[in-house]
Symmetry: D2
């Protein structure tokens, strides 16, 4: 942590800051510059948590030097994490595709989808039973009934299953049926929910919030890991920008940045990122080439009549085509698919 | 709802769309343009909810014509709503200032603050008992103990009290102690929480999400109102943009836009919007002049040692000065303060 | 300037950095932290301009300590600048309203507008003769003929006149006719144009770029001032964000931030910021209350037939009403209007 | 073009709109909805350019149906354009890499770079002779001397050369030395410059502005093409968002979106998009897989001492490694490299 003083800061102000630092058992290193004085703080900066030095007299700004997330930080855990979901591993050699409908609508729809995506190459079935929708008048999900269909699909196909949870009640139901919990973009900073998901010990798919920085995203993962649950997979699904040609803007750079800063695996969801079916395949290809560990792709037996996110869902033939395109590319990238 | 066909759309594709529309008992109005054909849909468009016409053949795009929120919409409720919180009214003639610490830290801190802000002119005491913090290692709040202090402060001063809730458990506790529930920016689209807050019947202060459009914000309020609870007050607290000179960017235009689109009252929180103490007063002045119904201002007996958001909190003398500046301005705007 | 080393940086890497710093005649202050080493650089950092230390081995990041703009910086010029435009002063006691049509369309339109805005209280006439338009098929301006009308309007009314310039040729024409040059948002980082505008010695109204940070904006002003022309007035006119209810998002916080960081005057343009006529007045009120030195408001004798930006232009009665609202507010803020 | 009336719009208001439309020789199609009336306009909408219908009484909003760009629009030019730059073609079967230093610093630096990038596989040499820099105190380029070195490098290596132009004077010099003009991000809406670049007939590399929508970008290309110069290549180089882990956010979705909306070729510049050397290669891979026609990659013989953008420049060995990675991927995508 570095404290930058204002130009012409009074000696007394500087002395005062040093006293606070030393009073907490830390060491202050002073650099008297031509224009400004800067003070480096050496030691455990959490001891200064109840000292808002930025509003002390003559302080210009505080510059943090280390990241606030520790458990998700590659600096302290250099080996990439490999997360086990059912019998699938994410973050290792496998390239993993999760697929399925935005919302579970019926037993038939889900089972039909499960068989189709398995055949094409997907390893994990996704499906929403609790749907966070912008409008209260849109379809809100089948809730526990949807979870039961998920479990049935798992038993029939051997696919692992992942489902979004939006409340403690949903978590309590979901743990009985699914292999992995998903925290959606809108709940990325619902810290209460993160802690509860962490407590279950189940692997958690943590989607990036619409306007979350990568730093905040990793701090959100820290909430889960700090509960003793290191099984976190990150999912980039587009951020909100001024551009309207796509529903969100896929921040594909997040993949190499996460690989640089964290040991957690990261997958990409081009369906939510663009909201437009015709762009999904090429962005999926881009995600593989940039080094992602997997993909999440929305599929539906009849997208024209999907109750949620139909316009971005692929038909089964489209999904097969996507998988066919990805196969040689994943191989080129050294991944098994 | 308007359907714009692609140039050179096949007649059959157009016929197909018309059939779907008429099959739902709606009417289709066709305009054959020089370049494109457009189809206007007349009737209750919710009947088309399970028809994703945008992916039908030869459809270019769908343009919604009416807003998806109804209960919060001024078009169907032209009179401004006046919300009662304890013995205070928001949205009417009063200009209402809510103030207090970001986090309740102790009984003494809260009571001292309550007395100070009351003296300066505030009508509602704010204070966080459940704190959503970016890092799991930061202070997370006193929880129910904090709520008890809030209630005590209310009894001692007569101020109404508002507290943020972050889970169903927090709501269940809060209803026993406070006059108004706050849904924070990070939970604006935690639809589960919105519904539960709606069910309590208590007035709800709904902060705008960091990257929520005004349209999404009004849809979020719709979740609360749809539970039979029309007592919603909106709070603009800054949106996330590329600018870093302030923590967020206060979208002050939201005030006239909300006044134009909705009947709900709106207040402004310049403390969170800027994150910088020295900018709070002038933005508070701006908020009054632009027509806001009130302000939320963070104050603390000793901001340098606040456990949360100290750098943006005002001291009591600073808060008094702010209130003194606002008094003649509120009067000029025709408000009582 | 501070250099933050990576955790476990090799001693040799640190020695290497120190050598580079000392080799340039500067001093390095070392703080050996528990986790990382930081190196403070004391002396004239421009000597390190051709050293990209951030890519040296084991360097984590470089943190600048001082702003790159000097002449626009309040730290080195604490007194607010008062800029003279014709017989008007901006940045002092006067509250100055500039008004007029987006585009000069005809002699009659301009003269009629000039008389109307003068009567209502405006001091400076604006009008575009060179129009930067998104589409090449939209009206592009009357060019030099428009400038002649501006001059005529000045002579008839005594108003000062300001006109946007978009090229060296436009500057060469404009200096013969107007009192102030405007650099538009799209050209804020057209550094060539900034220098040429600077050389004229005429006061320059520098609009903020759509996605320019305040820091970049002040650096842009530095290009003008560095040519020996300190007569710069800044104009906040909205930034680009995800919100679409208004054309841009008025960053009203820019007013107190600029007042804190620079000595240059700042005015606000709510017409371009919102793009919607009905929101202009309340945002104009907000701008006065937040401490702006003036306003730019688009007006037109017949907005419904304006060739550019009609939807955001006020009629003359609307402009009179706006000025009437501002009068007591400006007075309350200690400004003459 | 569609006009949406307000709920309860007066019949007279609707009649008035219809009269305006018909008065211009266009046809109005009326759809009387349950809630609102919408009016479709059939015919050449440019006839309504001087009618700001959105501010007519009882009009709620105007919805454009067709894009304002025509010459760049795929709808009217379905075949992809292939642009010739020297003896290189962009947009066809070749995958084209442009490379070189951000700024031309010396004859030696440029020639050394030209030979190195040619050997690795690049086809076009880039190098800035006129540098738009945020601060006026940073290196501004060698100007015409730099252009002479570019020409010499072309003659020695056979590479085509591209150079950014920032003024009419720069264009007048550049046409004597280079094969392709570059319009930089900051000048994307410098319409004067676009027109002048268009007039030269030389191919133009048009970088996307930092906050330009894809629609505005295509409109900017329209300025060039409308001068009779169809030789435009687009370059995605990152947009400005809230994320700070990378300098800008690479909007990789722009590649499929442009391919869908326009016939112009598009390349990707991961160097400027991220500003961080270690992320360049994986983003370059992503760009190939997503379907880009080429790349622009900054290289420098000694990035640590580059006068501009050193931290994002690759060394020659790094560039060779990047090209080696791209070779099999480009082939997989059906491109020659």
């Amino acid at each position: 942590m570095i404290i930058v003083m204002k130009p012409n800061a009074k000696k007394e102000s500087i002395r005062n800051i040093i006293q606070i630092i030393e009073g907490k058992g830390l060491t202050a290193h002073i650099s008297d510059g031509k224009e400004v004085t800067i003070i480096g703080v050496v030691g455990d900066k959490t001891k200064l948590q109840d000292q808002n030095l930025e509003i002390s007299e003559d302080v210009d700004k505080i510059v943090p030097v280390t990241e606030s997330y520790k458990l998700a930080n590659k600096k302290f855990h250099p080996q990439p994490s490999v997360i086990k979901v059912g019998n699938v591993t994410i973050g290792g050699e496998e390239f993993v595709i999760m697929s399925g409908p935005c919302a579970v609508e019926s037993r038939e729809q889900l089972l039909e989808t499960a068989h189709a995506i398995k055949k094409a190459g997907a390893r994990i079935l996704r499906g929403g039973a609790y749907k966070p929708r912008t409008s209260p008048y849109a379809f809100q999900g089948l809730e526990e009934e949807g979870l039961r269909f998920m479990k049935e699909a798992r038993e029939e196909t051997g696919l692992a299953v992942v489902c979004e949870v939006t409340s403690l009640a949903a978590i309590e139901s979901a743990v009985k049926y699914v292999d992995m919990l998903q925290i959606g973009a809108r709940n990325m900073q619902n810290f209460y929910l993160l802690k509860e998901a962490g407590k279950t010990g189940l692997p958690v798919l943590l989607k990036r919030g619409l306007s979350a920085t990568i730093d905040e995203w990793l701090n959100a993962s820290e909430y889960i890991i700090a509960e003793g649950n290191p099984n976190v997979v990150l999912c980039e699904r587009g951020i909100r920008t001024f551009e309207t040609a796509t529903r969100n803007t896929l921040d594909i750079s997040a993949v190499p940045v996460i690989k640089d800063k964290s040991h957690l695996p990261i997958i990409v969801d081009p369906s939510h990122a663009t909201g437009v079916r015709k762009y999904v395949k090429s962005l999926a290809m881009g995600a593989v080439a940039v080094g992602a560990d997997g993909l999440m792709i929305e599929t539906h037996p009849d997208p024209a009549h999907a109750l949620s996110d139909g316009p971005q869902s692929l038909t089964f033939p489209q999904f097969e085509e996507l998988c066919a395109g990805i196969r040689p590319l994943a191989e080129l990238m050294g991944k098994k698919f």
